[in-house]
Symmetry: C3
Subunit: 341 residues, 3 copies
């Protein structure tokens, strides 16, 4: 009776679009049948005959030869790699075309499905003093607190909290469980314990930011926490109080950025990396997954720091030695001096 998830029914959306309509909307040169009905976007290897797919790099040329896809999006440079009878959309940036195609596809589906859905779900709680643009979408059980602002075309999925006085700009997407504007972690030490420093700032999030499920952006202590336009944060990301994240920086899941850190523009931060507090990271810096930024980084580049994984028995031997590494360096120095004599 047990069944595998891969055998569970896929709740596929049944749709199809005319190929000429896609090209009309998104551009590119169509090679082949404009009346072709596309029923799904797929990968080269998984595509069925009614699917559209894309070739983003020559390294998949082999899959291009064997794909069953009805239509392939590719660049002029790769056109010769396709089978002669293959229906094609030829465009300079196939991966970007694919991204835009997913957006067009989704908007077509939404137009069919969402017309009757209310923009503000009846279960959401919006404080009377909050300002929500009429074009914003607010999902079930969202909370928009006192004097918060939600800009045009922004979308709070289910169960999002936006704290008081926080400002969400236009076209921002906040996924389920996101918390914007919880108190920053601020306490003063006292012999009796920790004394709370009330967090009097707020959070400001600029246009076209997207924040993943269950991520948190804390309000500032005195000034605001600021996320600039086009920033993309994955799930379970922690942004502490008074952090500033520059435009178009992207952070993968489980990243933590500590208080008052200032991250530049166009940076990328790999999953589960950590940036300590009060540091500055320059524009165009790329941090590998699971790395810990402990000093400010002023030079663009690629930075890494994690222990390489190994078979446990090897790791144990190396880890034990590592705890003596400084001593070993001294032994090497002693050997060098002995040899010099």
């Amino acid at each position: 009776m047990a069944h595998l998830a891969c055998q569970l029914p896929q709740n596929k959306v049944r749709v199809s679009f005319r190929l000429a309509d896609i090209v009309h909307a998104l551009g590119g040169s169509l090679v082949g049948g404009e009346d072709f009905q596309v029923s799904r976007i797929s990968s080269l290897s998984q595509a069925s005959p009614s699917d559209i797919t894309f070739l983003s790099s020559a390294q998949y040329a082999k899959e291009l030869q064997s794909t069953k896809a009805g239509v392939v999006i590719l660049s002029p440079a790769h056109r010769a790699l396709a089978r002669p009878d293959q229906t094609l959309i030829v465009t300079d940036q196939p991966y970007l075309y694919y991204a835009r195609l997913t957006q067009w596809w989704q908007s077509q589906l939404n137009a069919q499905l969402n017309e009757s859905e209310p923009r503000v779900h009846p279960t959401a709680f919006i404080h009377p003093s909050a300002k929500v643009d009429p074009s914003a979408r607010i999902g079930p059980f969202c909370v928009v607190e006192r004097e918060a602002t939600i800009g045009a075309h922004s979308w709070l999925k289910s169960r999002v909290s936006v704290g008081e006085r926080c400002v969400i700009s236009e076209r921002v997407i906040l996924h389920s469980g996101v918390v914007i504007g919880a108190d920053g972690f601020g306490f003063a030490k006292d012999p009796q314990g920790w004394v709370k420093i009330e967090q009097l700032g707020a959070v400001r999030i600029a246009q076209d930011v997207e924040i993943g499920a269950n991520s948190c952006v804390d309000r500032g202590a005195l000034e605001d926490t600021v996320i600039e336009q086009g920033v993309k944060l994955d799930n379970l990301v922690q942004i502490a109080h008074n952090v500033h994240i520059g435009e178009h920086t992207a952070m993968a899941a489980c990243v933590g950025v500590a208080g008052s850190a200032k991250i530049g523009k166009h940076c990328t931060v790999g999953g589960a990396a950590v940036v300590l507090g009060h540091l500055s990271v320059a524009d165009h810096v790329h941090i590998s997954a699971a790395s810990v930024v402990t000093k400010s980084i002023s030079k663009p580049g690629h930075y890494t720091g994690f222990f390489p994984i190994d078979e446990n028995a090897n790791w144990e031997k190396n880890a034990v030695t590592l705890k003596q590494l400084h001593r070993m360096r001294e032994r090497v120095r002693a050997l060098e001096q002995a040899l010099q004599k």
Copy 2:
């Protein structure tokens, strides 16, 4: 006036069950009074005279001697270690017996308490097009989006979101705050910034999966994200788009699995470990806590990679040396060559 949490009242459930009823339901050989009333399951060291406990390994034999427990579950091999007057349940796998006893215990409590509770909490939001099995339990403020499916005997605790078209099979437990089917983190790069790739896949979760509080499983980009039967995920775990997790694999809290990774069956992943994207991990692989899987692992075994903790002053010296490690290896090589001459 201050009090410690350990002095706060324990909201203990007052119940008692007849020992013979337990043995009747779960098996094992009863040695001693079948009319004994068991009021709590406890550990050997904490047990009171009306409690039942278990001996899972001979290493706790000393605690067995001194326990105040009314009843001890143990294996035939350990029977001689018990006091002669001790009431016993003798069974081949005492730890498994204990697990089943907790289930039986809980089900007895639920039978007493939950009869009047509605299966679908009146505050939950279920889209009219979603399919929820009549035996499923849906807690307060849960969200089941359009065309999602919730299978028989599955249980969504409070504040769980299941996104559109996601499929939850039978006997799945999703703890509070879980988000199934948020968008995967997919963007194409463009001179103007990141262009969203709409995530058109869904999530499929097979039978007997349990997912901990505030964990996230993202929907796939084109194909679905898949979690096979019997998988157990702890709290605050991140499963990215198009990941595939094989049967009966267990992951501790704070683990992150990046996009399109394929994890085998019967694996275990320790807390806060990270698996990078597009990797394959074989069946029966065990990853230690806080380790970063950066390459596919094709061989079953135990793998580890994290920096050993030390007193900060030692760590600092070793960390500084570590940044010169490659240079040190060259010095050792130079010494070896000098000595060979």
Copy 3:
């Protein structure tokens, strides 16, 4: 049309308080105009003429000279560093004074704003058998399950879940998305897969604890999970079943503490650090960010363990060498022995 978040309107609260009222409430010696109207708390460098700020350490003496702040809080020792015409509050512990000022400030605002807000939000779900003190505040979409207890003056922000039989003491703050009392991660192994061990304990949280957004504290397996008074946990922290955290310990964001670990009093744990299960950590232990505690720590002190970040190319060379470190030690030993001969 695009705008930066730093240009978005700040939803500043317009208020002002008379300086003499502040000193009357909080103490300290006022040097200068008691009728001065303070409109904001700010930092030395960001302050406007109507702002109050503080000097916590002589290292900011330069900023003190150039600050535009109307009022500066400082210690007697630093008084001579201020400009002669500067209005001052002189007090022994300026940072603590600042913390208390933020609390006083917030309470003044709340007195103005919250009078009409209900203490229990109408959208919250509280089980009829739960005990909620009349002075507690329960925010939108909170869930308080069967027989749970919420103490006096505690505050559950939006979307907090407190599971059955869990006990929250007085003056506890639980931020949005917190989950108290989800099941601990407990399973017994069986040839057919994992067998759930029902988690029959609860969670007890003592006075003055604060827990950050989307953090989780799991219920105990048999005994309770316990968090002692004055503990402060940041966002996205995971506390597993049967953990015990001593008084006034603070943990930064993304920390994970595995099952049955016992953490002492007055400890600090840096962001994203991990404490493995069944360990004991003494009082007054300080763990650096991103470090993994793998053995019990019995001595107060500062402990660290993470790989130092570096330019990726250097890291790669050092990481490769690290996997041969044990072998390198043997080579060094061989060299030493060869030289001794």
